[in-house]
Amino acid sequence: MNAPVKIETTLKDWETDQEVRWCPGCGDYAILKAVQRTLPQLGCDPAKTVFISGIGCSSRFPYYMETYGFHTIHGRAPAFATGAKLANPELDVWLVTGDGDGLSIGGNHLMHVLRRNVNMQIMLFNNEIYGLTKGQASPTSREGTKSPSTPIGSYDHPARPAAFALGAGARFVGRGFDVSKNLPEVLKAAHAHKGAAFIEIFQNCIVYNKDVFDDFAAPKGAEDRQLWLENGKPMLFAKDSKGITLNRETLSLEVVDVVDGDWEAAGVIVHDVTNRSIAHMLVEMPFGPFPMALGVLYDDPTPTFEDAVIEERKMASQGKEANLAKLLGKGQTWTVSGTAQDPI
């Protein structure tokens, strides 16, 4: 969407000479590689690509991308990105944030960048913990999370990033996890979406919240616990032996068994990425009774903020001359006559 001319690059072209400073084994490495692998496939131009981040482990991301990068302040990356995109709509903007940066200190800005629909990809690395400040509970930490700031377990209810994004008015909500082979496909779909595309990426903090996503992300038994959504395809998982159906009486989703591959008979619904009602159910679908919904949950573009701003400026300027001398002398004026000089 952003780069009209496709540029030939390789993964190497997107790597910087800076030493990567994440902990060995951190899920961020896998996400970095997935992004560096995806951008050449999309034909992106490094010179027109910008990575903007806030503060936290995830926010070091721009230093490792051979693009323009801006490592800003805690929680405010969406505001910087909005200003940059309005100033130069040709920039292909990627925003990198985390659960603390994006949902705690920066929750307000995240909400507004989504509802304004500024064209950019927003990757929220959710590791359910504050990593860079050494392991405090975060707004997405599960109830009972023990941490230095919650020694007997956290008791506040966790925020749900995808539900937050959809509630804020996002027109694209995707989900993936750090080591998933499908992550590049979610990134590509987000990039193809014109508007604010929100991607929640579950990310393993091996130091402070190790393997917290193993219940669905561990390779063993993954098929039973992951629902990979594809537009126009039935919502099937567990080697197509189970599916998701809509209980039309209670207006809620249910898991059903699929016998002999006859998903239609089982009432399994077909994923329509433009169906906002179902999207609301998918982001609210609790893991445990249900599999984890992954992939593109929702994708239904509307006009972008920067297009509206450009259009407004065009309309407001129509037939008006940008003449500074005239502007300064506007309104009701009077002339003091004399010989010294003439008025403009």
Binding site: E90, A316, A325
Partner: protein
Amino acid sequence: MATAATAPQDGLPASPDAIVVRFAGDSGDGMQLTGGQFTLSTALAGNDLATFPDFPAEIRAPQGTLFGVSAFQINFGSRAINTAGDAPDVLVAMNPAALKVNLAALKPGGLIIADTGAFTKRNLDKAHYEANPLEDGSLAKFDVLAFDISEKTIEAVKPFGLGNKDALRSKNMWTLGLALWMFDRPREPIHDWLKAKFKSKPDIADANIAALDAGHAYGETAELAGPVKQLTMPPVQSEPGLYRTITGAEAVSLGLVAGAQLAELPMFFGGYPITPASAILHHLARLKEFGVTTFQAEDEIAAVCAAIGASWAGQLGVTSSSGPGIALKTEAIGLGIMTELPLVIVNSQRGGPSTGLPTKTEQSDLYQAVYGRNGDAPMPVIAARSPSDAFEVAIEACRIAVEYMTPVMLLTDGYIANAAEPWKVPDPAGFKPFPAQFLTEPRGEELLPYKRDEKGARPWIKPGTPGMMHRIGGIEKHEETGNIDYSPDNHQRMTDLRKAKVENIAVPDQEVALGEDSGTLAVVGWGSTYGPIHQAVRRSIAKGCSVSHIHVRHIWPMPKNLGELLKGFDKVLVPEMNTGQFKTVLRDQFLVDAQPLTKTSGQPFQIAELEREIAKYFDGIEGNEGGEVAVNDQQLPSPIAEND
């Protein structure tokens, strides 16, 4: 010097060379509108003027109450006017509360015009009057012209079939009509304005015009008792040229537009509504054809962050607020300093701390501007002294930001933002351009985004430029590559470089605004105290005092010669609308024994109070023995004759 006018025992003098009028009423009475239109008419009549709108923080305070009083003061004359005037000669009081709140300011012998129709038992109670002051003799030392403006307005608009409540809304226009007659101002501009304002409601326009004309006719034809007679005031002798009135908020907006054009950059303005700064956002929102993008952000923080993001992407980022909003922006301003990007931050100061006095003026954000950030975070600060001066200062802020790659804070205040004065429209051809330079290829073999030029500025590299990809951020960075670098030596050097860059900004030498270059007393001001200081110093010089007025525009860095200049005076007095902030900075920078004169009442300084303070330094001057005691308002020539 003009001869002193006699106290107006028989009403006002027939042709004073300056006069102060205050319109006061309920906040729903339209006093700001009345004042604004009277100002326009006065400007068109060719008089010099200064105004002081003084209104409550509440949009519509309960009707008739003391805290709901809204006032608009204008000082106008056939001589140069620098202040909105100390004490009004004329007070228009639309209700008892307006009279009560404003009476203390009125000059003895001054004229009160009151609407008896509003002096009802209920309104008198609300204003805590036990008896009607118009009837109990308590106003004996003033001239009083009291009649039923409400009734006369209802009569005037009767042909338009409005109900009483709607009809009474035209009361301010009736009063304005009378004022226009009193001071021989033209009515036509107000007619035109009303027609334009009520374009879609011609009935309302006609009713208001009828009220205005009726007020005017009342003055012309009614057989009024002594005090009210028509005054003539010849136009001021100004420099030839084209003039208009301008408020500080307008001047800042126009200056920013001009600055962006001189830098050859589109402007990005990020704002968030706050009193008294919102007017700048409103003005700029209507100037899109000048390449201006205005962005009303979700909060003050997002407003400045978006502006910095836009600067990074190659536009001139601007944000504006008042003290509480500036506090919120502070962390981002630090990032602007760290990443060395251009940014203009306008602070229209108001009374603080916290929410403070949103609609009242103060200069108490000076420390915030100069020192108020975490870390050693030097930032240039400049201050406008008047509404028209704000235009030039805004251009100067843009110049410094672009040439030195730095955030710049521009200080105005609530008084400057709202007050209007005539402005000689400048010719843009006379402005010196300072086009922004973008680096499009490395200067040497290697790309060094933090390698400085001779001014200490790093290059500006727009994202999107091929082959120049690099990363910036708030973490300490290497002095040339800009890569993360925490090493001790590098941080020491970078701290020193940031400090040196701002210290070495070229700032014009400080000039003396009035008086000699050395002497007994220097009165040093900054910002909106210019007018009253100037007049107080002028009067003191006329009495024979060795006093000079120095007014500092460049607060940080200060003019290089300022220290030497101050050493040429025995004493230094610093009047400011805070508890002595600039005084402290002067003491720190120059080790001078600067003495404070502070005021934090939410009201601007009066000339007389400054003059009284100056007099303390000149015990023994003829006619001034004993300093303060000898100088009082009775002995001074009346401000009516003293506004040169």
